[in-house]
Symmetry: C2
Subunit: 123 residues, 2 copies
């Protein structure tokens, strides 16, 4: 009862998309965000900082992605050294673009059923 809470914060929806190769998560929301930050900053350590993630963790995620795909998604000029630069490869750019498309296309397709489900939730 009390004051009516803000609807927009109380009712939320999350969609999570994950691609697996065997037991490994080749790509998911965290790895996609990391790719985007590496693309923007040209640096794994800066991307890690933006995500409040340790450099080691970010580097582990990059290694997992590079191992799962036919071609590396990230090229690091000094083999993971914090002070070297890093860029998305052409394959990395393509895979990130397609992952973003998954999210966008889902948002479009989901609009109607989602609106209906949310309308049944308490305010």
């Amino acid at each position: 009862m009390a004051a009516k809470p803000n609807r927009s914060t109380r009712k939320r929806f999350k969609a999570l998309f994950r691609v697996y190769l065997g037991d490994e998560i080749a790509l998911g929301p965290g790895k996609a965000e990391l790719l985007a930050h590496i693309g923007e900053t040209g640096s794994i350590s800066e991307a890690a900082r933006r995500m409040e993630m340790s450099y080691n963790r970010a580097w582990l995620l990059v290694r997992t992605m590079n191992r799962c795909f036919k071609k590396p998604l990230v090229h690091s000029s000094r083999g993971g050294d914090q002070h070297g630069g890093a860029q998305l490869t052409k394959c990395g750019q393509q895979v990130l673009k397609r992952y973003r498309q998954l999210e966008t296309k889902f948002a479009g397709a989901a609009r109607e059923p989602l609106r209906d489900i949310l309308s049944h939730l308490k305010d």
Copy 2:
């Protein structure tokens, strides 16, 4: 590199959809599956058995759903007693149908970008 593993099992994709009310998960894949089994079996305990879940756990999930939506999704004839029957309410049927639509519409919309991402994964 030994025998080539089965592509269909090595490359996998998962999409997870969750609806929140405040901090509670009002609906997600597990709750949707539970609703479907309750609808089919007319029994929370039988639905729980099918999902290899304890009756208490299933009942907890049902209570959470019923609390989050404006109208209950499940009507249990003896207030959760194992031996009473249970049915999906009209609202429960509608919400489950819409959740399934989310999954179906996503599968359609995701086909092309997903095929491309998977084609970049190692075989």
